[in-house]
């Protein structure tokens, strides 16, 4: 059995005076696909933002490769890919420029590889059109193109299926599964009915009574 990439111990998060979750512990192992589920407002997005390192209003422990994450900041950020609600796409730039800018702080990557990734998401022919002229689904696809060039072992994907058509959904499902088989770890939140073989679940319920 391999070491967990990310380990959460007794996570607790309170937001706007409401307890979202408490005593939440889980491990993310390489080669697993995990779905975070729960009704609206139970803190799925918040949990993903906490795991990504964007939200720091939590208590408990987060370990990255067995070490406290705080001490491993750069290694953690370098090896984690987060896609949020907001796709991170500048409407004034073209898909190619956007993709290049997103990868720029991470690692060198050839334009050819980026072009192939855009082609892989069905955006060939749109590489040099400003993103504001693309549809919402196409803009999401620009963000998703990152998955095709990503070599980060841990993916945190918030609502990846939003605004994606049926074919696209199937393609993403296949991609996530393939990623897990290759040894990557994937965490997703979605309202789409996702049920893949071997998928783990983290279920968030309604927040407990506030009591200390």
């Amino acid at each position: 059995m391999s070491e967990p990439l990310l380990q959460a111990i007794d996570l607790e998060c309170e937001r706007d005076e409401r307890l979202l979750f408490q005593n939440l512990s889980f491990s993310i192992l390489p080669g697993t696909l995990t779905r975070v589920e729960g009704p609206n407002g139970t803190g799925k997005t918040t949990l993903l933002r906490i795991l990504a390192g964007l939200n720091d209003a939590w208590s408990g422990q987060l370990l990255w490769c067995g070490q406290p994450r705080m001490a491993q900041r750069e290694s953690f950020l370098r090896n984690t890919l987060y896609l949020g609600h907001r796709p991170g796409i500048k409407p004034l730039l073209t898909p190619m420029e956007n993709l290049r800018a997103l990868m720029a702080g991470r690692r060198e990557i050839a334009d050819g590889a980026l072009a192939r990734a855009l082609e892989g998401t069905g955006l060939s022919g749109f590489e040099h059109v400003p993103c504001r002229n693309l549809s919402a689904g196409q803009q999401r696809r620009v963000a998703l193109a990152r998955l095709l060039v990503a070599d980060e072992p841990l993916w945190l994907l918030d609502e990846v299926f939003t605004a994606i058509d049926a074919d696209g959904v199937r393609a993403i499902e296949a991609l996530l599964q393939q990623r897990a088989e290759e040894g990557g770890a994937v965490l997703v939140t979605t309202h789409h009915d996702l049920d893949l073989p071997g998928m783990q679940r983290i279920t968030l319920g309604t927040g407990g009574q506030y009591e200390r």
Binding site: P30, A52, G53, L54, N55, D56, A57, E74, S75, L77, R78, N79, T80, Y82, G84, H85, R86, P87, G88, I89, K90, P91, L92, L93, E97, R100, A101, L102, A104, G105, R106, R107, E108, A113, R116, A117, G120, T121, G122, P130, L144, L147, L148, V149, A150, D151, E152, P153, G168, A171, I172, A174, L175, Q178, R179, E182, G183, G184
Partner: protein, 241 residues
């Protein structure tokens, strides 16, 4: 989608260093700004209009303008930098690129330094370049104009650096623009005093090297410290969104 292009899980290779990342941030901001050139003109037009208000509202007399010209130009420049600051992080915040910026495996303060530098090149520097024209219109003499431009050249980056802290703190708040001004104007006052004080000293024939050195010290202080404060503020604002 097909996944042929994607390598399998392994330690990340060919990583980009902080300088490369800073360059990319700077280049992206400049490129985005030039895609919407009209927006670049707005602070400049605002600058000109505020300066115009003084002869109209106070007095068009040469003596008054000669004496107050440097102050008027400094106040107008300060206000137009302030006006442009609201956009520094807001668009990036709205479209999600700010999240991705924070998650880059790079020191955040350096990325913010690059962003703020881009902001200065796009707003502060054009103000400095426009200042001589307005200086002539308020009847400043050649020497005063030269000193004024020098003080603006040193002072406007300080305004951008300090302003970035306010922009980061008020990110995502309602009525952020007004709040930003309330937070930042008090911090601008020393820069304003020394900016105009230098020109006044020059007009009296006093040596200005000391004043300029002091403004240089402000600049060094702002460049070294402000990005840390902005980075901390940005993390707090993002954490709250």
């Amino acid at each position: 989608m097909n996944a042929d292009a994607r390598p399998s899980v392994k330690p990340v290779s060919s990583a980009v260093g902080p300088l490369g990342a800073m360059g990319a941030v700077f280049a992206r901001d400049v490129r985005v700004a030039f895609r919407q050139r009209q927006d670049l003109l707005n602070p400049l037009l605002f600058f000109i209009m505020v300066v115009t208000l003084f002869p109209l509202g106070v007095s068009p007399e040469v003596a008054f303008l000669k004496q107050s010209g440097a102050g008027i130009l400094w106040v107008a420049a300060l206000l137009s930098v302030l006006l442009s600051l609201d956009h520094l992080f807001r668009h990036d915040f709205d479209d999600g690129t700010l999240e991705q910026l924070v998650l880059q495996p790079q020191p955040l303060f350096l990325l913010i330094l690059a962003k703020t530098a881009a902001h200065w090149v796009l707003t502060g520097l054009p103000l400095v370049l426009l200042a001589p024209v307005l200086g002539v219109m308020v009847h400043l003499d050649g020497n005063s104009i030269a000193i004024l431009c020098l003080t603006l050249l040193i002072g406007t980056p300080v305004l951008s650096m300090i302003g970035a802290i306010g922009a980061a703190l008020t990110l995502g708040l309602r009525s952020a623009g007004v709040l930003l001004s309330l937070l930042i104007i008090p911090l601008y006052i020393p820069v304003l005093i020394f900016g105009t004080g230098t020109v006044a000293a020059a007009a009296e024939g006093a040596p200005v090297a000391g004043y300029l050195a002091l403004m240089g010290a402000f600049l060094v202080l702002a460049v070294t410290l402000a990005p840390f404060a902005s980075a901390a503020a940005l993390r707090i604002s993002l954490s709250n969104s």
